[in-house]
Amino acid sequence: MGVRLPALLKDSALTALMAAALGLFIVGFQTRDIGKGLFFDYQFVDLGIAVVTIFFGRLGLHLAAMGLKWPSFALGTVLGAIGASPLRLPSTFLHWFVVIAGVLIILRTIWPWANAALATARHSQRGKAMGQRGAKWFGVILLIAAVLLPLSPFSNQKNMDLAVLILTYVMLGWGLNIVVGLAGLLDLGYVAFYAVGAYSYALLSTQYGLGFWAVLPLAGMFAATFGLLLGFPVLRLRGDYLAIVTMGFGEIIRLVLLNWVDLSNGPAGIGGIPGPTFFGAVFAETAPAGKQTFAQMMNIPFTANQRLVYLYYIILLLALVTNFFTQRIRRLPVGRAWEALREDETACRALGINPTNTKLTAFAVGAMFAGFAGSFFAAKQRFISPESFTFIESAIILSIVVLGGMGSQIGVVLAAVLLIGLPEWFRDLGAYRMIVFGLAMVLIMVFRPRGLIAHREPSVRLHPVRAGP
């Protein structure tokens, strides 16, 4: 194979040049605001190192793509070693940047082999059967692990807090998956229904003294009603317009909550929201008059962890209900209609499916689960304000669904663990979290539009698939 090295070098240099042009002002001239006026904090060394890394990274990827295993492997190793070495680069970010470049080149080098091995494994009959059984068992194992987690030695406060957070996003992801994954409606205002659920519980509990379990179905109903009201006029719109309009509605609800001080207490938020009770027992050290604490009821000593464990089981239950509901409704006519509508709206019309009504049900059902999650959120936080319901929140939930693979239930779990769990475990990553979200959305769309777990069986087939060729 003729290797045109000059051409490769030229392309890599051009890429590096573009990177330099992109970074020159935004990265190179950092504006600092100390005392009077702004002044520059030049970052040209950082920028230079990043640009050089991009040059060699691009070169390595080219070499790997051309099948030159050893040069690209060597280049990747060198980059990785430089990044991981104690050599003092100006920032930890650059260390990571160089390491990631090296790892990418190595991955690209071994990709053809790995891919071929995977393909043979997948296409063999045994592999196929194992894959299906594996997916089933993986779900079961995950479920058992989730149920047993509070009894395990890992159930300290920090981990339980995180687990509750992850499960909240899993539930939201599953709820949004009904709208985006099954019905194919891109909803950018999902957080609005979450807010409706949260404010329903916050207001009904603090104003009228209703308990969590009484409000939970109400919150779902309110959110679903909102879904119907908002959805009715807009669901006739084309996909991308729908996305923008739902985002508009999400922002309208947030702005109304922010400005309608009489109802929502405005930006100050609502505090003192009671937590959920267990058959009337509260989770606190001492019970208010006329009530008993969970510890008294069970005759066990009080620990602060009991509340968290209880919250954990509630959200686990809610999430599992969402999942179960989705799995079941996919097999009902309405679920089938959602998926058919996602694939081809015109054909559905021709077959006599009313697109608006069908979309409306998906929208309302998705909103209902967001409402449940919202009232759980309010009960867990005990304080809510419009700050928690910004567009970013919708974007995070959407990126969980997109990363997991639209329509894939287990994918949502993995994506939630990856996107919510990892940044919490590695605190340093926190600042880069949203960058990773954005980058992940683009990369997934470019390389794996069906999500990390690309395997998705159609729910129904007209003709059974013949055994392999």
């Binding site: 935004i26 990265v27 504006t31 702004l38 002044f39 807009v234 508009g248 990126s399 954005g438 769309m445």
Partner: protein, 304 residues
Amino acid sequence: MAYFTQQLINAVTLGAIYGLIAIGYTMVYGIIGMINFAHGDIFMIGAFISLIGFMICALLGISSAPAAILFVLLLSMVFTAVYGWTIERTAYRPLRGSFKLAPLISAIGVSILLENYVQLAQGARPKPAGSVVQGGYNLFSADGFDVRVTWLQIIIVVVTVVLMAGFSWIIAATPLGRQQRACEQDMKMAALLGVDVDRTISLTFVMGSALAAVAGMLFLMYYGVVDFFIGFLAGIKAFTAAVLGGIGSLPGAMLGGLLIGLIEVFWAGYFSSEYKDVAVFAILVLVLIFRPTGLLGKPEIEKV
């Protein structure tokens, strides 16, 4: 009356900025039928590059305002255009032929990426910029109220009008414009007739980004402050302007920008400034529901 006139002047200035951003939405939508969700953030990048450009001017000792504005204008247009080009090339072009919502999801990803990239590189706090152009001209006084048009407002409107005229001319009378219009009508046929479709789309993004950069510079000069999040709201308002005017139509984008400027300023001036953003969102929703083709748009036939 005086108050009304003053609000009118402010509204036209704001509308000019929205119109410039709206052109980017409308051109991209017209040619490849996607909503470039990241366009508002490209505007934000343009504003940041302008801020840095003005600071460089101060360092270099360029004290004459016209020279500084011209320098920053070119700098910001060129380097923001590089962003537009790169985004199209890496995040949108590979998705042609993917499923319908893929480019929009990718664009949302780009938007999140750009916002947080700027936040990380430049910090989250709003950056104040000194004013470059001061002073103004008192038109008349009535009811003890001076109606005043600042030089800056005149500059904003003049720059906008000149650029819009220039770009309209490019679209209407140059080979590039003809290729763009050909791609807009039928991309496959244009390709068969020898139009380099990829290049045309790239140049459309470059043009849209350059205009957004100008809007960014004018925004910076007008409000004197910029942060990483300005692109979100400005982007939505400009998108509303594009939809209101009829998406895909260039004069529509200008008209829509003007109308959104009027609505926002008069709503804030006469009703409540808290709900001015709600008003804009409500208009977006209402237009999309009742007249999705906008004021000047052509009805769209959905092809199967």
